[in-house]
Symmetry: C2
Subunit: 472 residues, 2 copies
């Protein structure tokens, strides 16, 4: 350890969800913490991911509400979108959350070091070049009894489709759109691709959604994925699955996207291509390998269930490790890492039971096993599907697409809960609790849901698995 190094209980490399959660939780447990982040704290999630995406999707919700207002007896003119104003509000929300985060970190006496950090070969020192107000750079060395690596991820590109930020866009670029493009191809029908397609169709674009696999939202329960696909089609999104993208040609009128689909070779004229085919971990160039931190063949830092890397006292969390790339998973991993340092022997995150939220319209929320996964794992599976058409609040809201689907072991506990429809991303909280507490339909059937609520549909679904029922 260098004699000039500052000493901390924990040094965190990266100020995104995994990093700031480690800092905040660790500080609340009494540890002294330094956190190194080149940009403003908050990471991808706050600046280029979840938050800006949901802000734009909220704008889409406002548009849809106005378009459907007449049915409720509310007259207003056809709405128009000024996306410049939406972007201003988005930045205000991000700014407010960032300031809140900065103030929390300050309140907990976390030393936030602005700069690009590198792990020194000793594995416990982060070296940071900090730019001073006068433009000069000062090198600071931060030594931690423990180190948490949380450098996050970046959008993955497709060969032949390099991001240019103008016509070929990553998620970073879509979230900063200065105007609504006329014709868009979204490549990748996963959670993020579906969110973009949903926003863009509501914003007025002509949208084609291309997916390499046989259906959109692979990994999501098939019935739920079908709800989204049908709803998208109804709203005008052209979905093509089992597609192999060839490349793009620039024409006078814009772009032509080449791909092979069910109908052979296609050339799709578009103005903009959005590539959302996943994110790659940012594990290079920060000295990790040089310090002996093992990195797997896909670039993820290898960790055990306690988030320990191959170097003693060095942890990794968030998008940098090969677990679900979700901010709340990063939070949970950060807590496991801190508890491990404290010798509290925490239980590892149960990745197959974490909640997922997809904020397209209709929304999707799920946790636990899909019906197919449960069968694959050999369970004797029972399911209960309750569509929204019978739920009074969904009818009142005019949001009756989708369902609650409960997957359970016959005469056993709940294995999974899958929701498509209104406020699915919030409703899943109750499903998550039930799955993670290994509740049985009999346990849950005793419980009461307020009437009239959307949450009743979960109640009806589990009650039906007891062999008796109320509304369905």
């Amino acid at each position: 350890m260098s004699p000039t190094a500052e000493e901390f209980d924990v040094v965190v490399l990266g100020g995104g969800p995994g990093g700031y959660a480690a800092a905040l939780y660790g500080a609340s447990a009494g540890l002294s913490i330094a956190m190194v982040e080149e940009q403003r704290v908050g990471g991808t999630c706050l600046h280029r991911g979840c938050i800006p995406a949901k802000e734009l999707l909220q704008t889409a919700e406002v548009l849809r509400t106005i378009r459907g207002a007449a049915e409720f007896g509310v007259k207003a003119s056809e709405p128009s979108l000024d996306i410049g104003v939406s972007q201003v509000r988005k930045h205000q929300v991000i700014d407010k959350l960032t300031k809140g985060l900065e103030s929390l970190l300050k309140g907990r006496k976390v030393t936030v070091v602005p700069g690009r950090g590198t792990l020194a070969p000793d594995g416990h020192t982060i070296v940071v070049g900090v730019r001073e107000a006068d433009g000069s750079e000062v090198v600071r060395e931060l030594h931690g009894r423990n180190v948490v690596l949380a450098t996050g991820s970046a959008p993955r590109a497709l060969p032949g489709l390099d991001f240019d930020g103008e016509r070929i866009l990553s998620s970073d670029h879509v979230l900063e759109l200065p105007e609504v493009p006329e014709r868009v191809a979204v490549i990748g029908g996963g959670a993020i691709g579906c969110e973009f397609a949903s926003f863009l169709i509501d914003a007025g674009s002509d949208v084609t959604l291309l997916e390499a696999l046989p259906q959109v939202l692979t990994g999501v329960d098939q019935q739920v994925a079908q709800v989204v696909a049908r709803a998208f089609t109804k709203r005008g999104v052209k979905i093509e699955t089992a597609v192999k993208v060839g490349g793009v040609d620039r024409t006078d009128a814009g772009l032509e996207l080449r791909y092979e689909g069910k109908n052979g070779e296609q050339r799709l004229p578009v103005d903009v291509v959005v590539v959302s085919v996943g994110r790659r971990p940012l594990s290079e160039g920060a000295g990790l390998e040089e310090a002996g931190v093992k990195i797997d063949e896909r670039g993820f830092v290898a960790v055990d269930g306690n988030m320990r890397t191959s170097v003693d006292g060095v942890y990794a969390v968030g998008d940098l490790v090969a677990t679900p790339q979700l901010a709340h998973v990063a939070f949970a991993e950060a807590i496991v890492a801190i508890k491990t340092m404290l010798g509290e022997d925490p239980a590892p995150v149960e990745y197959d039971k974490v909640p997922w939220g997809i904020y397209c319209h209709p929304e999707v929320g799920f946790c636990g096993l899909t019906e197919a996964q449960a069968k694959e794992q050999g369970y004797d599976v029972v399911t209960s599907v309750h569509r929204w058409g019978g739920n009074s609040r969904a009818l009142i809201m005019d949001e009756t697409e989708g369902m609650v689907k409960v997957v359970a072991e016959k005469d056993g506990a709940l294995l999974g809960v899958h929701v498509a429809g209104p406020w699915a991303t919030e409703l899943i909280a109750e499903g998550y609790l039930s799955v993670n507490w290994e509740a049985t339909p009999a346990d849950l059937g005793l419980l009461i849901h307020a009437h009239p609520t959307l949450s009743e549909n979960f109640g009806e679904s589990v009650l039906a698995l007891t062999g008796r029922s109320l509304h369905g």
Copy 2:
């Protein structure tokens, strides 16, 4: 038993929530059921209560969304309300739900007998005058091994303020308003009064809300009630508490409501007075007392924890008994009654832990003990309050009024969860589960909430009670 009587396992008197839940759940358990109802099935809740109220409050939500649209970059004209159209949609929703209910009852082979039923002195026969298609009346006698009384309730009037349906309105009348009144006094600041005040202010009325007690929403946690009071005041509702209503005088310009308030005698000129001071049980005129069914001094049918009345084999559920007048409580009571008949020895409904939802803006959802109740009961109380200003989704939605408040026993289980703010009526489902499973903050602190969701605010609140925290 009369030789002409039709025989059933259960005869249910009343087709509201308690009645139809008994019928549906009993039928799903294999019992033969007859249900007697004079009007269309569904009762107060479906035709004159929860459902139409929430439909109008959804209309108010549409109005508010449009008024706030510009902030999101969505331009539309100032909205106007044609309440006639709102009423048409409301009736369509009610009709759809009623048909759904009728079809469920039919599917489960419940004999629905349309007519006014009376309990015969034997306590087990319901005598019904059924009007035939040709106008003649046929008397049917339905004999049940068990009888469930579920005749419901009606709005309570105030002395000197008899309902006329034109200017002095009960909840029944408000829900059928043909136009938005200019100046309204709402008497009664309970859940229903607050819902009406919230709708009317959004619809454009000038609203004064009068409450006899020192605050609105008595019984609701005081901090939560204050959130609603402040939000109402900000939106222009004039709240007067500790008020004693004297009466009303008819003038050329409308009405003058006389009351004594903090500033002495007041005369308030209004166009319409809405009286929402509770509901009285409909226990008279149906032969209950004559058959030996004990009725308490306030008119409620006396029952034990298994919903058994003083007559063997006769049960009572719903608004007819002195328990919270909520449709979902009636559902739970009906299930307890049916299970009791089946000899299954069910646990009584835990009334102090049922969920409550109030659909005003901001919404309120709660269950379990308030902070004041917990202290009164001698608990060593800790609380955790997390306001919406720090929650990313609430900021995105621009709905930051209110909070999640968790009340727990020091080093013990959760005692109550109280939410004011966006989707509180849905979020309470998770709080309800936690309180009813007697979860501790340590149990709950291990759990993950999807980011960015409103449900995270509950997660943060319970996590903070473990002595450590993430965002707050």
